[in-house]
């Protein structure tokens, strides 16, 4: 019988060091994984060397640290790049990581022109969701287009950009929003490539054909399937009518998937397995809109980083679907279904309308700085949170069927998650410093001068970046030169919309009353600073706490992601806040809390109480409470009225007020 070829199966991974990650990749490949998907650590993604002060606590945590060509060589040791298909989740520093990849391929003796793989290289969604942007939108788009233009000409099989709607759904987007913002991003980028004049008009179709997408699939899997069919049609329409692409092959909606992780829970985490499998169905069921590559999260997504066994389990889910079931034996199962067709049309209409809204706000690039899209996303996410709170949106094990027998999965010594080697950071820094000592400074300086010149004069950034890679330039140095030329940026937070919770829910009314009473007793409105220290880009929690806080009657200071401990401490002082609430999901909470304590003490603000929320393993939570934090919140604390009440109680205690009735 004729079976379709399965999709590409990937596991998004990387940690500790290039050497450790290399071992992991080779194991995964030997277990039947068919492509590599590299996770970089946050300093690498935001352009800092491992020994930069801002990198403290983050090196090797959520991905692999890559500082220079030596690290990149170690990462792909014994993995022939000429034969590999490598996906790199890299954005602001994408030209740099691609340059390193090319330089390593050269050293391995492979032909760079034949390389295959993907650079995510979609910086617009970084401002909206993912958080690893560096420069203002305009120069960022220029770097994106430079990479695209370079690969189309020189590495034709490379997927230069993966337009991501995945991260938008993770930040609260509805299916229509996902469609609208991803497609608006794609056209913004293609328009920019066109305007850059780097590609002759007769080759532009090829550029359109190289655009691929990275999409999400949530638990409402019927609607999600329809969304993917809508995506295919809308993209075909854009390619044909906006860019005049004749060849249907060049108009194919090519996409990879990571299924929804936002809905994966800390409570009864075994239920996540069902969720992941159902979500995978959404992107495989319809042959005409099937994913090209899939990576799945693990059952313990909301607990912390997955261990190799957890990832293996996720990979096996894909293998069972592709190899044991009969899914791949049939043509499209949904063609001709009137129900599906009606839903697809509805989604297309909604998405089209939202694309018009984006255009009315100046297009996707303008919408970054004017905050339109981010505001819409935060509002959607707020609606989702309200529905979870009210029980209108059911999540099994979270707001219904909470009772559970003891889980054998979360016991054991490692409490069910991966612990990153604590020595990794120190070792990485030592290797980096040794590397710097051995390279030829003259060659480094010359290469950096070329890079600066290209950044300034507008010529394509790739050739000088590749020169830098060969010369032994570091990630921090490459980024520093561009920071100097382009400047840095802070994106809108999206929380500034009109009061969201006018529902006169009793619980909220009670919180407001407590806030009001406490404000009166303390003589002034309660003020709360929400701080996101370090390089962590997970902003959902902080945004939702900010909005809820405002709706509860707090005055809220929230300045967005990636602040230094000193910025947070000083803002708390300047604004006279009653409480500081930190939000950390990157795993570096212990180091960051220590730094913030020190900063607060140094400026005489030791008395301000601190709480923290995020991905905090239980052992660490205990440590933090011992060090004086007043409360630790984790994803299982979904009722934000309770969180608000707890904060009021803490403020009352610290200020010596009697408990409220």
């Amino acid at each position: 019988m004729q079976r379709d070829r399965p999709w590409l199966m990937r596991t998004y991974s990387g940690h500790s060091s290039a050497k450790a990650s290399n071992e992991l990749y080779r194991t995964n490949l030997s277990r039947g994984q068919t492509g590599l998907s590299v996770a970089f650590d946050l300093p690498t993604q935001t352009g800092y060397d491992s020994d930069h002060p801002l990198a403290r606590g983050e090196v090797g945590k959520v991905g692999v640290p890559i500082n220079h060509i030596g690290d990149m060589e170690a990462l792909f040791d014994q993995i022939p790049l000429g034969e590999m298909n490598t996906s790199m989740t890299i954005n602001a520093t994408a030209p740099w990581l691609l340059a390193l990849y090319v330089a390593v391929a050269e050293r391995q003796g492979a032909d760079p022109g034949q390389l295959q793989g993907t650079t995510q290289n979609d910086v617009l969604k970084e401002y909206l969701s993912r958080g690893t942007y560096i420069f203002p939108p305009e120069p960022s788009v220029r770097l994106t287009t430079d990479l695209i233009a370079y690969t189309v000409k020189n590495i034709p099989k490379w997927n230069p950009t993966n337009i991501c709607s995945y991260h938008l759904q993770e930040a609260g987007a509805t299916p229509t929003q996902e469609l609208a913002y991803a497609l608006s991003t794609a056209t913004a980028i293609l328009d920019a490539v066109q305007a850059s004049g780097q590609i002759p008009a007769d080759r532009f179709q090829q550029v359109v054909g190289r655009i691929s997408f990275f999409v999400n699939a949530g638990i409402r899997f019927v609607e999600e399937t329809c969304k993917l069919r809508a995506f295919s049609r809308m993209w075909d329409d854009v390619a044909r009518n906006r860019y005049g692409v004749e060849d249907p092959k060049q108009r194919r909606f090519r996409y990879g998937v990571q299924v929804n992780s936002l809905g994966l829970t800390e409570s009864q985490p075994e239920n996540n397995v069902q969720r992941i499998v159902l979500e995978m169905l959404a992107v495989t069921l319809s042959k005409n809109a099937r994913a090209r590559a899939i990576q799945l999260p693990a059952w313990n997504e909301a607990l912390g980083l997955p261990r190799p066994w957890d990832q293996q389990w996720a990979l096996r889910m894909q293998q069972v679907l592709a190899l044991e079931t009969d899914l791949l034996e049939y043509g499209d199962l949904l063609d001709g279904s009137p129900v599906v067709e009606a839903k697809v049309l509805e989604l297309i209409a909604g998405a089209q309308q939202e694309m018009d809204n984006v255009a009315a706000h100046g297009g996707m690039v303008a919408c970054i700085d004017n905050g339109y899209v981010k505001r819409e996303l935060v509002q959607s996410h707020t609606r989702r949170m309200r529905n979870i709170e009210s029980g209108d949106l059911k999540i099994v094990g979270v707001n219904c069927y909470q009772e559970t027998a003891t889980s054998p999965l979360t016991g054991g010594e490692e409490s069910g998650i991966m612990k990153v080697d604590e020595l990794a950071e120190r070792e990485q820094i030592a290797t980096l410093q040794a590397f710097r000592a051995t390279r030829q400074q003259g060659a480094v300086d010359d290469a950096l001068a070329l890079l600066r010149a290209a950044a300034n004069d507008g010529s394509n950034i790739m050739p000088s970046s590749i020169q830098c890679a060969r010369a032994g330039v570091t990630t921090g140095e490459w980024s520093e030169v561009l920071r100097g030329v382009f400047g840095e940026y802070r994106a809108p937070t999206g929380i500034d919309f009109v009061a969201s919770d006018r529902s006169e829910s009793k619980a909220l009314e009670q919180v407001r009353e407590r806030v009001r009473a406490t404000s009166d007793e303390l003589g002034r409105p309660l003020r709360l600073l929400i701080g996101k220290p370090g390089l962590d880009g997970h902003s959902n929690g902080a945004e939702q706490i900010a909005v809820k806080g405002r709706d509860s009657g707090f005055e809220i200071v929230y300045e967005g992601i990636r602040l230094t401990p000193s910025q947070i401490a000083r803002a708390a002082q300047e604004e006279g806040v009653h409480l500081i609430g930190l939000s950390v999901l990157s795993g570096s909470h212990l180091e960051l809390v220590e730094d913030i304590h020190n900063e607060l003490e140094a400026i005489g603000c030791k008395g301000i109480p601190l709480v923290i929320g995020g991905i905090i393993p239980q052992d660490d939570a205990r440590q933090l409470l011992d060090r004086g934090l007043k409360a630790v919140f984790t994803p299982k604390d979904v009722d934000m009225n309770i969180i608000m009440n707890t904060m009021v109680t803490i403020i009352r205690q610290v200020n010596g007020l009697e408990p409220l009735a």
Partner: protein, 335 residues
Amino acid sequence: MSTSAAIQVSDLAAAIAKGERAALAEALNLLDDRRQAARQKSAALLAHLQSEYSDNCNHLIGITGPPGVGKSTLSAALIAVWRKRGLRVGILAVDPSSPFSGGALLGDRVRMQTNSEDDGVFVRSLSSRGQFGGLSAEVWPMCIVMLAGFDIVLIETVGVGQREVDVSRLCDTTCYVAQPGSGDSVQFLKAGILEVPHILVVNKKDMGAVAQRTLSELGNALNAEHPDGQWQVPVLATSALNGSGIEALADVMAHHHQSLQERKQLARRRGSYQAYWIHKRLEEEFGSFGIDKLGGEKALLEQLQSQDMDLFKQYDSLRQQCCNGEVDKHESDND
């Protein structure tokens, strides 16, 4: 007040004048505090600062305009210029508060991100708390404190139409920022709804022709002589985004300040802020009825300006009069 409390207050005042951040923060919290004991301490602190420090020539600037024109971004750009000139800058940024919960998102800071290690910049956000026509009742007392510690104090408020009147009557120099392509500012000016500012700015000049058009429309709509007299209102174009026109704006601001001093207007203006603040607060609480009871706006303002009494005492005694319904003969004769 006990002597030890008095000493505390004078120490605090001295520390503020030295620019100590912790002291400034403490004072701002104190001024925000409506409890009786705090109010007394605040009054003592203000009395200290008013007599010893606020008689200085530091520059109090108001920046206002419709939402989203770029006031905060412009402020950030100005801060950078002033810091280069060695001036210390304090900012009071006023955001609207939610009518539903009373809560507020204090968002201007985000655009004002300055070098976090710089002790020469201090940003305090305030919410309008539903009062004072988009300003905040705490603004004026906080200005007094900030003026003691900074060369320049900048107040940012959202203002469309009537509202920016408040800020223009509480500072030395008012700068109104207009949006390119929006006819509103022009209309307001023509209709006299917009109090004439000392400086008009069209921001976002990087938007090109449309900014240029608004610039010339505003120029035409404007009676170039400011009602204060002896000041030609300049109309400037800036781009807070790419930094152009910022130095020029800072120069014009400094020039206006200098002109006030040369015309011996600064002290006179300053004397009127407090009177206006007290008047405004009374009006808020008792309506025009209350003001009439106190002899009407004009008489009240004149009376307030002629007195040399401290802020809260003046305010509290007038409040008392409104409540009791009797106007103290002695005070109202005092002009």
